[in-house]
């Protein structure tokens, strides 16, 4: 439990830092004269909190079957979709109709699937390497 909380706080702080830097950098480039209110200071914290939520689904017990892992991945992508869409809609009023929401949702899904596939491919290569070394070790013994 202690480890889990530590990990969540760590992720929250990293997200907070990166979001603050991103807002600062983008603001300096895109709207250097824009004035912010006190309420805007809470935006990085709120966004970092929302970004930390999907991590709750990645904190896993030791033993999970492939089905459970896939189930968690689906929940994770649904949560990411909901967060991204609500952030764009409520935060920036940037979604125009169902078409816009669909485009964002598909983009998020594509990125998520792309990252998962890249992760899987890398895992396959590493597993192959491990198998080769394991076979060698067992042969030597």
């Amino acid at each position: 439990m202690k480890e889990t909380i530590k990990k969540l706080v760590e992720i929250f702080l990293i997200c907070h830092f990166l979001i603050s830097v991103a807002i600062g950098a983008c603001g300096m480039i895109l709207g250097p004269d824009t004035k912010l209110g006190y309420g805007d200071l809470f935006v990085p914290s709120l966004m970092a909190f929302l970004c930390t939520l999907p991590t709750l689904l990645t904190i896993q017990p030791e033993k999970l079957t492939i089905k459970q892992i896939v189930g968690r991945k689906i929940l994770q992508v649904l949560m990411v979709e909901a967060i991204v869409l609500s952030m764009i809609h409520f935060g920036f009023h940037g979604i125009n109709g169902i078409g816009g929401a669909f485009t964002v949702a598909v983009s998020v899904l594509l990125v998520f699937v792309g990252v998962s596939l890249a992760d899987w491919a890398q895992g396959c290569m590493e597993a192959e390497d491990l198998n080769r070394r394991l076979a060698q070790l067992q042969k030597e013994e």
Binding site: I69, K73, D119, N131, R133, L137, E141
Partner: protein, 146 residues
């Protein structure tokens, strides 16, 4: 307690002999220690002690305060902590693959990726063990060292 050491000629005749009036806790500890230094480990099913051959053990798992040794046929309780087993058996091809599991490399059949940057280790009895991200690096290192 008196301790005597007798020199012998052949390594294969080396042994520890315990002479006691009754098997006390101290003698039991000494016996377990001596066995642990060899290729034998004492495992328990209920209160019955069994001598386990190290090479037959697939993996050790810590569940709460207890540690269990899994063989293809049985699950034995072991009166040692996981970190103690790890330090004693790390040069016998046992390696930590997650926070609660110490796996016998010689009993692993193959590795395959899980969907979340972790690996499944398929044991020779068909069981799958999770290798967590954190310990995968250590595992690679150990496999490279041989």
């Amino acid at each position: 307690m008196r301790v005597s050491i007798r020199n012998i000629l052949h390594r294969e005749d080396e042994q520890v002999v315990l002479e006691c009036v009754e098997m006390t806790k101290d003698f039991e500890d000494i016996r377990e220690y001596a066995l642990m230094k060899g290729n034998i480990l004492v495992g328990y099913i209920h209160d019955t002690a069994y001598q386990l051959n190290l090479s037959d053990i697939l993996y050790f798992e810590a569940v709460g305060d207890q540690v269990f040794a899994y063989t293809a046929e049985e699950i034995y309780s072991v009166k040692k902590r996981l970190y103690e087993l790890e330090s004693v058996y790390q040069d016998r091809k046992f390696i930590r693959c997650s926070k609660s599991v110490l796996v016998n490399l010689m009993q692993i059949e193959s590795f395959r990726p899980a969907l979340d940057s972790r690996f499944f280790a398929r044991m020779k009895n068909g069981e799958d063990i999770i290798v967590s991200r954190m310990y995968a690096k250590e595992l690679k290192k150990k496999l490279m060292e041989g």
